[in-house]
């Protein structure tokens, strides 16, 4: 799947590219962790149906 010849940030150095993509993935992981895995009651209750429907471990 080594594909699209044009990348999103063609001009950035490879190290900076790695850092930015890693940062984006980390941000995504953090968001999932907060919505789906937080033990805070209010967060759990707000996303309750979502957690069940995404099959995140719940309760």
């Amino acid at each position: 799947m080594n594909t699209a010849s044009v990348s999103l940030g063609a001009s950035v150095s490879s190290q900076s590219r790695f850092m930015q993509l890693a940062l984006a993935a980390l941000l995504g992981t953090f968001i999932i962790g907060f919505v789906g895995f937080s033990h805070i009651d209010a967060v759990h209750n707000a996303g309750h149906d979502n957690r069940h429907s995404m099959a995140f471990p719940c309760h």
Partner: protein, 272 residues
Amino acid sequence: MNLFRNVVFIAAIAGLVAGVVLACMQAYATVPLILKAEVYEQAEGGHSHDHAAAPAAPANAASDNAMSPAAPAAPNAMSAATPAPAAAAAPAEDEGWAPADGFERFAFNVVSNVVTGIGFALILVAVSEFAGGIGNWRQGVFWGLAGFAIFTLAPGLGLPPELPAMPAADLTQRQIWWVATVVATAIGLGLIAFRKSLPLAILAVALIVAPHIVGAPQPDSFETPIPEGLHHQFVVAVTLTNLVFWLVLGAIVGVVRGRFTGTATSLRDSFA
């Protein structure tokens, strides 16, 4: 931070659309089943989520549990099955704020679906950029299938989607198993897709299988008031809604990214 900004922008659009699509599917496919299960949960009087007003309960939900502590004042089984009066609705165990049933609950579900969608989209876009990027909607569908396999299928084998009132092992243990399974499956699929080497492919299979040999944390007892048919229906609904969610997410990333880069290489030219 040009690249980072672009990734976040694409992920936000894809997550927003796929999240709204998922919330609408859930409103028809999964949430009604959760509401039904909550009736059993409240009738059982065990761990209650206390979504203030329970939906109209089937009489049989309470008839087996007429003596349950949830309805100590109930003179008979039928009244135990009716929506709890205000006094009884007060949380037995304080579980904090929860959205009110109806529109508020739906609205919060949409929001959490969109946020979850953006989170998954960020991971999807970032990881796919390392592999060259998702060039068009068809590639996006394949990436979506991979996401579905990693985040829904693999953890769902050991920890099937649960309804309220279903027995489960310790939450933290399950979360650890869930994350470990997702990581192992993702690495495994990545090795198969991007490394043309037999030993690595064998290692990949081992990685994908390993979490299931270790086994997901299981509850002490499988006793539950939830009928098996209801649970099975829920597992099917969750799996299919998540499949559509991932396909939509991947496809939209492909479309939006194509607009950004101005390229729409055909799958035949580019798919390895």
